[in-house]
């Protein structure tokens, strides 16, 4: 438990010193400066909370590949060969057990089973069954841990996404990235500690809405908000100087501004003034570092090839995956890629095919790239949506065409990298991929696992708010999934 007061004390004390350390120092431009490896601790802007991490952290950074809309587990990872026999037959009652359905299909008279039309084959040393839709991810199965029994409490997009990203269905809580930024602090003073990316998605797909709360700080201080790195317009809001104002103008102006603010500090004594001086300097450095960050001209062809032909196409998923690596490399704590379009109620085979083509190589390339650079050891990568999809078809069913409704009871996620054992699978579902039959894993358990990999005991990481000690993982019991930990 962290008291608000302690936290404030810490922040005040820190700024009291760091401001003095940084105030007035015109930091050298980051342009041209070596950026390999993580930024040094000397330039930290805000440190970890006292006592954090609770244990040695396996991972220092997180890249969360959020597949928004609910990817079909049945057509990607949860191989159910027996379903072919049940084509167009009603889902047996003993499987459905009268569980609630979304009202989009609760009115259906029949629940005809729709087997996946896609071919599955075994891959890697672990022999993982993977759908033909994911030929590139199939190559990295020995690096990832697959969880087949993730379940959520929500059945609609808005509450389900809010749950996955903030640990509760009701808006108002901090997002995962904000919790991590708050608890573990930043490792760079040139970039925000938490960055969100929103790549394009295939045009025919059913894209759901996103909400700023999915990367928002909730009740935590605003500086822990995810900063959206944009693929169109300024990459970081307001990063560009106004027209007719160049970097030298800014430097000259900031020098004068710093002088005047220092005079204020001398007269008033408010340590926040020193913090402000430092933040203006950091803003200036960001103006230098962000263009460098998004300039991928120095990436080798071999690296670009890992991510595929879309890697150089700004705003694509592949380029976002590459950018995620570059961000983590520069000391960013959490990168969240929000890829939309996975909500296939009608023509699932076509839409899902497009979705997988859009992301498959980017995901695989990211893991390979991190691995080659030795970064996978301390970077945790998570892939998954907010729920899965039903085994029965929503709307018309044929062998080639079917739709699937939301399915909260079990869906697939995978994790790789820092703290995770590769090549394992956890949990099993029934023959219809309708319910877990062993090792169910709640979304809260997933979040507990993520925190665990970062050295945080999720039960001891709470913030007092509105009279409650609130945790990312909620009030119910939650447990890290030990079986997938390295």
């Amino acid at each position: 438990m962290i008291h608000e007061a302690q936290f404030t004390l810490n922040r005040r004390q820190f700024f009291g010193q760091s401001g003095l350390r940084m105030g007035g120092i015109a930091m050298p431009l980051m342009l041209g400066q070596s950026l390999s490896g993580r930024a040094s601790a000397a330039s930290e802007v805000h440190p970890a909370l006292p006592g954090l991490p609770h244990a040695a952290a396996k991972a220092k950074a997180v890249i969360y590949l959020h597949m928004n809309g609910g990817p079909s587990q049945l057509d990607t990872w949860d191989y159910k060969p027996g379903l072919v026999e049940h084509f167009n037959k009603d889902l047996p009652d003993e499987i459905r057990k009268g569980q609630r359905l979304s009202t989009m299909t609760s009115g259906q008279k029949k629940f005809p089973v729709a087997p996946s039309k896609f071919k599955f084959t075994q891959h890697g040393q672990c022999g993982r069954w993977v759908s033909e839709l994911l030929p590139h991810t199939a190559k990295i199965v020995d690096d990832i841990a697959l969880i087949k029994t993730v379940n959520t409490n929500a059945i609609n997009h808005d509450p389900a996404c809010t749950f996955v990203m903030t640990g509760t269905e009701i808006p108002g809580r901090p997002s995962l990235g904000s919790w991590l930024s708050y608890g573990l602090g930043a490792e760079t003073s040139d970039l925000p500690s938490f960055v969100a990316l929103m790549p394009r998605y295939p045009s025919g797909s059913n894209g759901q809405a996103l909400y700023s709360r999915l990367w928002g700080p909730g009740f935590l201080p605003g500086r822990h908000s995810g900063v959206v790195l944009r693929s169109a317009g300024d990459p970081v809001l307001y990063i560009d100087n106004p027209p007719g104002v160049d970097r030298d103008d800014r430097r000259a102006m900031l020098d004068t501004l710093g002088e005047l603010n220092k005079k204020s500090f001398a007269a008033v004594g408010d340590p926040d003034i020193q913090t402000r001086i430092a933040q203006y300097e950091m803003a200036f450095r960001m103006q230098g570092s962000v263009p460098e960050l998004t300039d991928i001209s120095k990436e080798t062809k071999a690296t670009l090839d890992l991510y595929g032909p879309e890697a150089t196409n700004s705003g694509s998923f592949a380029s976002s995956a590459l950018l995620a690596r570059r961000l983590v490399e520069r000391g960013v704590r959490v990168v969240q890629i929000m890829h939309r379009g996975w909500d296939s109620h009608g023509n699932l085979p076509a839409e899902l095919g497009n979705q997988c083509r859009d992301t498959d190589q980017g995901c695989a390339g990211l893991i390979q790239d991190l691995k080659q650079r030795g970064m996978l050891d301390d970077t945790l990568v998570i892939w998954g949506g907010e729920f899965g999809r039903t085994v029965y078809s929503q709307g018309a069913l044929s062998r080639q065409k079917y739709g699937r409704d939301h399915h909260p009871r079990n869906f697939c996620m995978w994790m790789a990298g820092g703290g995770i054992k590769g090549g394992v699978v956890h949990g099993e579902t029934d023959d219809f991929s309708y319910s877990p039959v062993e090792n169910p894993v709640n979304v809260n358990d997933i979040n507990a696992t993520i925190l665990h990999c970062l050295g945080i005991n999720h039960e001891r990481f709470s913030v007092r708010h509105q009279g409650l000690n609130l945790r990312l993982t909620g009030v119910e019991d939650a447990h890290p999934v030990k079986q997938i930990l390295a």
Partner: protein, 1045 residues
């Protein structure tokens, strides 16, 4: 009392000392609420508190009787005896299985905390009720005039802190202006204050700002955070919703200084106030501001439940400072609010008539149309034009009366034999519609011949079939005049095998407001029953034959002379024919008051009088014709000739035509006004369902697991609710009145604390939303109580309360202080120095616009879409959402005050979010005040701030020719003070550098002065303006400008 040593520690470790339990000495009296409860609450109550389900060893430590009770020879707490106190022995136990709190709780008592408990037990282990649940009492002050400062100074003395001197007048006016209006003072306001040398100048300045209309805007801004007001629904599509009338109500309520009790009652239960005004209904928008969903697939029961929980929790938090949220799932571990009490409170909010799914609509019922106020510009204009036309009509009437007096009139009643009556029939439908537009509901218009189906007269008749739905033929673009004594007739044929369930005739006069209906009228619906909008003519006519339907035009409210422009022949279900439809009238001049003076005179007075001008009506009220003298009779007859007599029409031409012409204009104006008023916006309000929902304790907070049934009631730990109807169900109005009743210990304290927070930066209770046992204790409990009592004594007068705080010494101190002072009380809870807090997002932008001469001070109305970087809405928007694409407004809308900025919850304007403005998804009682590089980037580079800088630069150049004069002017505008010599020098150097660059690169200068929609002045020296723009940009980025000093 603190010892010397303690004070030294307080300087070194300020927060530890001020916020955590203090070290204690043996002599010191331990106070349960202040010293003990926080320790027990944090470490023990989770298992030994209120929540029976989580209680371990059946022991509770939150109640004295239970804690000291002897069970099996053991007492948890034995007052005065440590060795006999099992709880104490467990606390100091070294046995891992015995020690309390247990290891797996991850809680541990510090040495100091143990000391407190030890002392407390030794001193007799006395319990106290929780302070906030005991109604505040205020003792008379020895130095009554000092008010607030009496308490503040006493505490400072106790802590050994020395307060700073009063701030300069320049600093004071800027502080007050921002705090009260959200804007800095103008140079004129500054000059006025500085020139006022008489005593009371400060108070007069405060009063000027309290009287400003911007006061309401600034106060509302804070309240709207609490009320979670926004312009979209918030979930899924996040479509636009329309309830800005609520926002404007809040601004107005502060400006007219609505007392806080009334402010409370109207927002919680305005709809239940007898004869509630539209305004009071608008106020109930408070609890319609919550986020809602329209997502397909949503389970309705789940969201009805969630909305009620959200509304109950927000209400409890806003007025009572209670965080009831955890009682949703289980008994509140720390506060004495059991789950049952929460759901009883929730029951007040469980029966709103709004649906679970908002339908993604602009207006999700229940809503109310907001009528324009009397000073609405358009309404003023309507009134003016109407008055002008009335004057013209009066003028013509005079001339008509004069002309009438010259007419030689012969009464047809006096003729022998009297003239023959004349019957006139006008056909509106026969063999087809007249020329114009025909629209249908259902299959296309079908006219049948006698061979094809029943025809009453002529060659063709209408035949229409509707399948369990409304079917109709609608004719428009006609021009029929309703005659005197007109009677409509129409012929219908109902198919005996498939008769309709209802048939209807409708008439269009500026709107569809005249209908007659036979049969099951509710099937068609439309119009208010038993008015002209829906006249029920009884059962359906006979089937299988042509039946003539007849009704007087008067019966549907169609007055003679009315122009009908359309009609509709409507049915519900079945098959039928329509034919030969029209209106007939009979004229008998000898008996018709429109032809015969005698006949007119013979009418009852009330009928007669309707035809007269208002002044004659008054004069002849109660005066029978036999009492009229000749002069009077002539006067009346002349008016009758001019106004009523159809026989005289010809002779009074063209005057009557002229009058009719103006009459038409007058009618058109009335219609235009009606259309305007009906186009006025609507707003979400609260209305209960006719029959309230049953409410239950929901087990573990699950929407589908109802437990025990509950009735609406207030928490048992607080004073009982008084019901208007003691035998009936408690109402929200009862609840609202209970909130502001004298017995309620919380409402006034919570409100006062919120205003305090607004002015001083932090509340007296820091956790302003949590006055429960888990919340912080007040720094100045007696001051809080004194203010709360005074607030109630002074009729909940909010402006008075604000003034009281604003004129205190505590508010007037300089915010500069020694490093020691900053260290000793970093958060300035004890107010040895004046408040110094970062401005809020809205204040920063509004002040920049004001400095740039761009601010548009128009108040109220639809949310405006100001400058926003591209791609804020688009990357997150749902394809089908009407807020997926941002379309910026132009002109004045770009420069309105920020409170009027359109707020999309899932993608709020970055200039707001960047400075910690909440997205209004949930109630926000206090904003963070972060200090980030992204804020620096915004203030430096955002077009809104850069354009404002250019505006300021332009004003600087206009005001003075001299560079120092220009900088000084900017300092006055922005910082309300003159620049010091060293500041002038530094800025002067920077200007020289910048102007040299722009003189060398005029193209760059041209770019710099054209950023934004406003235009630089013609013929301006571009390099100079560009350089001054950067100087202004610099001044607007000074720390001193970003804070309220």
């Amino acid at each position: 009392m603190l010892s010397q040593l303690d004070i030294r520690i307080s300087l070194l470790l300020p927060l530890l000392l001020l916020a955590l339990p203090r070290t204690v000495t043996a002599e010191e009296k331990i106070r349960f609420n202040r010293d003990v409860r926080p320790i027990l609450s944090e470490n023990c109550f989770a298992c030994h508190g209120q929540d029976a389900k989580k209680r371990k060893a059946k022991l509770r430590l939150d109640k004295s009787e239970a804690a000291i009770a002897e069970r099996d020879d053991i007492r948890a707490i034995a007052p005065g005896n440590l060795e006999k106190s099992e709880a104490w022995l467990r606390i100091i136990s070294e046995d891992k299985d015995e020690v309390m709190p247990p290891e797996d709780s991850h809680k541990e008592l510090s040495g100091a905390q143990k000391d407190v408990l030890r002392q407390w037990i030794l001193q007799g282990a006395q319990y106290e009720d929780h302070w906030a649940f005991i109604a505040p009492v205020a003792k008379a002050l020895p130095d009554a005039g000092r008010g607030i400062d009496h308490f503040i100074d006493a505490k400072l003395k106790e802590l050994g802190l020395t307060s700073t001197a009063e701030a300069s007048h320049n600093a004071l006016i800027r502080r007050v202006a921002y705090a009260v209006t959200g804007l800095p003072p103008t140079p004129e306001e500054l000059a006025q204050f500085l020139a006022d040398q008489k005593p009371g100048a400060y108070e007069r300045m405060v009063d000027r700002y309290l009287a400003s209309r911007h006061y309401g805007e600034e106060m509302a801004r804070h309240w709207l955070d609490v009320a979670r007001y926004a312009d979209t629904h918030g979930m899924h599509l996040d479509n636009e919703r329309q309830m800005f009338a609520y926002r404007d109500w809040v601004v107005d309520a502060f400006n007219r200084n609505l007392p806080f009790d009334q402010f409370t009652i109207e927002q919680i239960a305005g709809d239940l106030i007898p004869d509630a005004s539209v305004d009071q209904l608008v106020a109930t928008g408070f609890n319609r501001c919550n986020i809602t969903t329209g997502e397909g697939g949503t389970i309705a029961a789940e969201f009805i439940f969630r909305y009620a929980v959200e509304r109950a929790s927000t209400t409890a938090q806003t007025w009572l400072g209670l965080t009831a949220g955890c009682a949703v799932c289980h008994d509140h571990k720390f506060d004495p609010i059991p789950t049952k009490d929460f759901y009883s409170f929730y029951a007040f909010f469980h029966s709103n008539a709004d649906p679970a799914l908002d339908g993604n609509k602009l207006l999700t019922a229940p809503v109310v149309k907001v009528t324009p106020s009397d000073d609405d510009a358009k309404t003023v204009e309507f009134n003016k034009r109407a008055a002008e036309l009335d004057v013209q009509i009066a003028g013509i009437e005079k001339r008509i009366a004069a002309a009438a007096s010259r007419i030689k009139y012969v009464d047809p009643a006096a003729l022998t034999p009297p003239p023959e009556p004349e019957v006139k029939e006008v056909i509106w439908f026969e063999d087809g519609f007249p020329k114009g537009t025909i629209e249908v509901t259902g299959p296309p218009l079908k006219l049948v011949t006698r061979e094809e189906g029943p025809v009453f007269r002529g060659k063709l008749a209408i035949r229409r079939t509707a399948k369990n739905a409304i079917g109709q033929d609608v004719y428009s673009q006609g021009k029929f005049t309703v005659p005197r004594d007109g009677t409509f007739f129409a012929h219908c044929y109902l198919d005996p095998k498939d008769p309709p369930e209802a048939i209807m005739l409708q008439f269009f006069v500026g709107g569809w407001n005249h209908r007659v209906v036979w049969g099951a009228h509710e099937k068609i619906g439309w119009g208010k029953v038993n008015t002209h909008q829906r006249v029920d003519m009884g059962s359906l006519p006979e089937k299988g034959k042509w039946v003539r339907l007849e009704f007087a035009a008067d019966k549907v409210g169609l007055k003679p002379g009315t122009t009908v422009t359309g009609y509709a022949l409507t049915q519900f279900s079945g098959t039928m024919g329509w034919d030969h439809f029209g209106i007939s009238s009979t004229t008998d001049p000898a008996k018709d008051p429109a032809y015969s003076w005698q006949a007119w005179k013979a009418q009852p007075e009330a009928t007669r009088n309707q035809d007269l001008s208002p002044d004659l009506q008054k004069r002849f009220k109660g005066k029978a014709p036999d009492k009229w003298n000749t002069k009077e009779e002539t006067e009346l007859r002349n008016q009758w000739l001019g106004r009523v007599c159809l026989g005289a029409r010809k002779e009074l031409e063209p005057l009557t035509s002229e009058k009719a012409g103006i009459g038409t204009q007058r009618a058109a104006l009335a219609q235009e006004r009606a259309a305007y008023e009906s186009s006025m916006h609507s707003t979400f309000i609260w209305r209960d369902l006719q029959k309230p929902r049953d409410s239950f304790v929901m087990l573990r907070g699950a929407y589908n697991k109802p437990g025990e049934k509950v009735e609406p009631d207030t928490p048992a730990v607080l004073p009982p609710l008084e019901k208007a109807n003691p035998d009936g169900r408690a109402t929200r109005l009862d609840l609202a009145k209970w909130m502001v009743s004298r017995e309620n210990p919380l409402t006034a304290r919570v409100a006062v604390n919120r205003f305090w927070q607004q002015l001083f930066g932090v509340g007296l209770v820091k956790t302003g939303h949590d006055f429960g046992t888990q919340g912080d204790l007040p720094t100045h409990p007696k001051l809080l109580d004194w203010l709360a009592v005074r607030f109630q004594d002074e009729s909940w007068d909010m402006k008075k309360l604000m003034r009281l705080m604003l004129v205190s010494d505590a508010f007037r101190r300089t915010s500069s202080g020694s490093a020691d002072l900053w260290q000793a009380d970093a958060e300035n809870r004890y107010l040895a120095r004046g408040p110094r807090i970062r401005l809020d997002a809205e204040q920063l932008r509004d002040a920049a616009l004001l400095a740039g001469g761009l601010l548009v001070k128009k108040m109220g109305g639809k949310g405006v879409r100001t400058y926003q970087p591209p791609n804020i809405w688009e990357p997150v928007g749902f394809r089908g959402s009407n807020t997926a694409k941002y379309k910026r407004d132009n002109g004045d809308a770009l420069y309105r005050r920020s409170i009027y900025t359109f707020l999309k919850r899932t993608a709020p304007a970055p200039f707001m979010a960047n400075f910690d403005a909440p997205n209004r998804e949930a109630s926000c009682y206090r904003r963070d005040r972060s200090n980030t590089p992204l804020q620096a980037l915004q203030l430096l580079n955002d077009v809104q701030f850069f354009e404002a800088a250019r505006g300021l630069a332009t004003r600087m150049m206009v005001t003075s020719k001299d560079p120092a004069g220009r900088v000084n002017y900017a300092y006055q505008v922005v910082l309300s003070r003159a620049a010091a010599a060293d500041e002038l020098e530094l800025i002067g150097d920077y200007y020289q550098k910048q102007v040299a660059k722009y003189k060398a690169a005029p193209a760059e200068a041209a770019k710099a002065i054209t950023f934004g929609d406003s235009k630089p002045p013609d013929g301006v020296d571009a390099p100079e303006l560009a350089a001054w723009t950067l100087v202004a940009n610099l001044i607007l980025n000074l720390d001193e400008n970003i804070i309220r000093n």
